[in-house]
Symmetry: D2
Subunit: 424 residues, 4 copies
């Protein structure tokens, strides 16, 4: 299914006068509305191919219908999102789930939807049907060199697919770790992993980046071999200038100050980018901004400050991706909500009165510093985000269009009600 | 496969002289060795039918081989455990996974292995292939009365199977809850759940108990409708004298003082019993005693104190069960380790100098109170536990026998290497 | 120091035209602006007498200056807050820190500032210089009946002072608990505490309420004898209809779903009210809304829903109080920020489209339910809150007036720069 | 008060025959009893000068009596501990609380008790009466260069005192951080702190080490500028080879895997040593081993493995110190319990069958790996620790001697019942 321009435009027409009033009001309240809108238009959030279907837990999965059955249909789904919000112009593939049969065909299809290929993702946390050696006890950390080699080779193969599609980065998330005390030697596990990562790093094209993601726990419940930002930074520092640390918001211990981690990684020039989601307990993989929207804003506040301090380009110099699981919502609706939450937080961090904040900080005026942050956060920037969408050709209200045009119903008609997309 | 008495006895002979020495030493150190051994022999831990196969996470599952393919084979597995340790003389079934075709046959089979049927477990957290209505948005809490009725009827059916087998209790674990703020009305969800539980309660035979288990989170990641002991106690108090609160060690928020909860539930006469396991992060479902053995001891300390204060029978008046998931270990070996850890903690709590502890508490002598607890915990009671096993006809070293007799290899031969047991 | 009406009015004049524009815009966006404003005007947040000075941690305290040296000066401080925001019209006293020499004088003074006396607070977590028996090992839980009696008598004395001043409730926060395993018998500690609370309850005037506050940990680091809402509810249920459970936002284990607790306590008719603050790690006692503003909104969402369902009066039927510690901010500025955050969250919960939410819940439309909550939260209601302040005679921008009028400088001049208020 | 050799020997005589039997039994169970005893005798745990008095929380302090009033009396107290357990042969001073009037006198006094001077501790988390600039908003991170300089100068002064006394290391624990979002710029705070640390580092004698301690939170409740091991490692890596990372067991987020951190710091050659204590919730500063003794054992397991892998000397190459707060126990009794818990965990890690563990790890035999760890932990090594104490001239049962000889009563007689030692 493809959403026609007219359908979106018709919907926009209905909401336009109200929107104009709101947009005018907010533009009057802040100084840099036009600048913010331009940055919002440039800002694209990659959608992972595995988040287009219903997610599950170890206790079960309750699938919806019309889920994409192939890479082509995944691209079609993201095309729908991008048509609606103008901010989902990239796709992140997962190998082996998304091996393209013909890369040129896939590239053309993506281009038709205005999508580029973001980071490629390898998978050494599951055993595939035809796989020689098992990852039950880890992959890059494994005590058996042959298993490590298999994991390295797989990553090199992923790079190959990525090159064909025009991707420029590889995300390595390892579930390697241990479930019981004594199961592994932490030092040897680290050194094995480092050795394996080095072999992959050596195969990296010169214009590629390697992202090393960390996670505190799950699916291993005692230790993880890339367990926190400190460990990831150790690896990426030893690997070299093409290696960076990837932050997933749900991969921390309770109460971690993620925004500080972001600021320090930026300071070190080692921040890769983000896997956005939200959570209350662990790696709950909920809709971005659905639980702790203020934390999301604080993270963007550090991103804008830190990237500006290094003259980085907001849109291009870090990798922005959603990594969520949709257990009880329609995956596409969930992704629309997630992108919206990201754009709102980004917009709020862009309207923050940064010079005044520096002044307050220099005076240890904690009260004023808080006022400045809260002023930006309490400002209703939805009309600015909508204006950016409008100018980018998207919908003023993507969710309404999605429902009014019966997108899901159409997908079910096309694909059936019993489809199950690959993914978690 | 059935382990012959001789195999166990042969193994015991080899270890006997060493064991005797150890047993003598420890018997000399404590006053009540014989009494402790008797209590240990009486103490039986139920094995859940779903913990006999390899467990998994949402990220994958790495099955071993020789897993039971039927209820009969599950009984056989628990029979093996019970033959080895003499402390696993009960089985806890899960419906619909374990619906018996012929209850009498199953009862006889269990009796041959010396097993009785512990609490029956219902399942309204998954959709079964032939199920009319979905539990995607809850079961007993559901906004739709028809879904609630389906869940109630299922529980009543579970009671029916339990009656046929001689079980005397029903465990209700509900995953009901919500994944996002606003998804449900907490009060209405509670009242719907209470109404549903009441209908099940009304169907309870007069000599049955109903266990209402609580859990803080997972698979719902925002709220759970029976979320903590306080909520469970609210339900069970409103339901009536046959309703009790079940504690699973992994179902709490970080740092919860579980032993205090146990003491208070005992005080209220509302403790049902336990699902034993261990965890570092969440409901990790690890081997009992593998992460926080001292906490396990402290819990048993409260159990012994509180049960004695109410003149309860340790072995019969509460329900003792393991509920763990075996992702990287052989399930049967894991269960042997879990039962051992439980028996050790129970033994340590039995040798604790309780009168001295009361005296120290009455004097606010915190140092001495700690000394008394640590003395019991630091005492090596393994020989006492082994002696109890020996007298019950079990093995001095169950794990060694399991490995030396190549139990798993035999099971694989009998059942194949690609079996997958039902369960999580 | 007293802020003159003119000073506030002058400041309001300067900001009025801007405010009018903002107020008009928001009034146009929501249906019930006038109704919301009325409710906001009625809503009063009590200020605790001990939160007017600089707080500290066990590591130290960095006092500011001009802190109140007497009960009279504390009333003066709250009078300043109330003059500025029109929403701080109540004071909560702490005995023995605030024993009035002449109750009538104090009552008159409070009345001059438009203040009433909210809940009285007892203190059995510290030893006073002239105290006979120590609370080192608890107060109402103590193994020694004489200590328990001392604690009971103190609470009865607090009621006496409260009656003289016109208060109608007693808040009992007990730090009772234990710091090490074995230190106390949980059951006996509970029963002793219940017995003590019953004696205080018996001394309660018929039109009074007793609030039993719970706390997970600190200053005891192993167990707390009123440790969570479940325990508090057990006490208050056993005590009788005048006993209620008090919620302090910082008194929970990590990740607790406080809004669900609030809903259930309201359902049971046992919610006393709140101690508002915010926190990232433990009982950090930070400015309300400074860390998790969305959680605050979700709590108010439950309050409004649950109180309306029971036809309760928002302003009068629960006790609203701030309980924070101001370590790095001016205490009065901090309190202004806290009250503002409360009013914003309350306003957002009042504009929420509740009928639509019920409909979405009944349809299990999780996406729409989230949209409705987020719409309310993302709406900029500051102009509505300001309008309520304006109509109540307060300042459009309380913080600006506080700074422009050099309130703190004046207080330092009057009271000196080395004063230290009683409190934590 | 000084404990005479005879008093200890008399007590030992009474317990000797029982001890001999126990020692014989355990020596028979393990292969390396003599080697373990030698290592235990060499192992000395430093006692911090500030842990000799009653600790407190922000809610209050309940002092005992007989607390040391001077540096001399602190040395006397540690002398008592060392006489009793033979394992407390070092003292760690805190400046400005412990500024020696005459270093030679103090050195001689310590030598008489067999004590050496461990790491010196600076204090920039409190304001001293005569201090020019305040640390309210941090010290080494401060936006004002003059404050940073004051903090640097203080640390350099601490080094000076340490040199006079024969100490060889400086521990820098900074409470620097922020309490509210926006209060500080994380990057600038880091860089200021690094600059300050560099200035102190430059003043370090060539044979000294600098320990940079990290802490997740408290007394700052939003961010800490040396907040986790990753941050500390960043600092110490940038500082140079004399800088190391210090681990305090209570300074982590919930559920952190501290033993893995230890292993990685050892791998990097950057582990300074330990501040031992225990905790259930936060930095509770409880008696070592009182809450999570298995975690303590797992940490020692990594220490022994990692130090042996680098051919390090257990006793000398890392700094071992207790850092606890004694709120409800006699401080000296508490310290005796803490040292005992450390020695037990160390002994258990020394008897662990390490070759078998490596073999199990190489076979991914998780069950056996757990068996090996638990075997060591479940072994009752108290008689070995006691034997080490006996040979070192200490008491078989230090606590009994302490009580029987009425040490505290004597100290109260000498020093009075109203003394309060400096400290937290």
């Amino acid at each position: 299914m493809i959403l026609g321009k007219e359908q979106i435009e018709d919907s926009n027409q209905e909401n336009l006068s109200r929107h104009k009033k709101n947009h005018e009001f907010i533009s009057d309240q802040i100084n840099n509305a036009e600048e913010v809108i331009k940055k919002l238009i440039d800002f694209q959030v990659a959608i992972p191919s595995w988040a287009l279907g219903t997610g599950g837990t170890r206790f079960g999965r309750f699938p919806g219908g019309g889920e994409p059955r192939s890479l082509e249909e995944k691209i079609e789904d993201i095309g729908l999102l991008h048509a609606l919000n103008g901010s989902s112009g990239a796709i992140s593939l997962h190998i082996p789930w998304d091996i393209p049969e013909d890369s040129d065909v896939i590239k053309n299809l993506a281009a038709q939807h205005g999508l580029r290929f973001d980071a490629m993702n390898s998978n050494t946390f599951q055993d595939q049907p035809d796989q020689k050696l098992s990852y039950k006890f880890g992959s890059m950390q494994h005590v058996d060199k042959a298993v490590r080699k298999q994991a390295v080779d797989h990553n090199i193969e992923v790079i190959k697919y990525g090159k064909e599609l025009g991707s420029k980065s590889l995300t390595v998330w390892l579930s390697d770790g241990s479930t019981f005390p004594g199961q592994l030697n932490f030092r040897k596990a680290f050194l094995n992993t480092l050795e394996s990562l080095r072999e992959v790093y050596a195969a990296l094209p010169p214009d590629w980046k390697m992202f090393v993601e960390y996670k505190a726990y799950e699916p291993n419940f005692y230790s993880t071999t890339v367990g926190d930002w400190g460990q990831s930074l150790l690896y990426t520092s030893k690997l070299g200038p093409q290696a960076y640390t990837l932050v997933d918001l749900g991969h921390h211990l309770p109460n971690a100050n993620i925004e500080q981690i972001v600021a320090l990684l930026l300071m070190e020039g080692k921040l890769a980018g983000f896997h956005f989601n939200d959570s209350k307990y662990g790696d709950d993989d909920l809709t971005v901004g659905s639980i702790k929207p203020y934390q999301l804003f604080l993270i963007f506040n550090e991103l804008v400050e830190g990237m500006d301090a290094r003259n980085m380009n907001h849109a291009n110099d870090l990798a922005w991706m959603i990594d969520a699981s949709h257990n009880v919502k329609d995956p596409l609706e969930d992704l629309l909500q997630s992108v919206e939450a990201i754009m709102i937080a980004y917009a709020q961090s862009l309207i923050l009165e940064r010079k005044k904040l520096v002044e307050a900080q220099n005076n240890n005026d904690v009260v004023t510093a808080q006022e400045i942050l809260q002023k930006a956060f309490r400002t209703d920037v939805r009309a600015i985000v909508a204006e950016a969408r409008l100018r980018a050709g998207g919908a003023l209200n993507p969710l309404s269009v999605f429902r009014n045009e019966k997108v899901r119903e159409n997908l079910i008609k096309e694909r059936g009600s019993k489809t199950t997309a690959t993914g978690l």
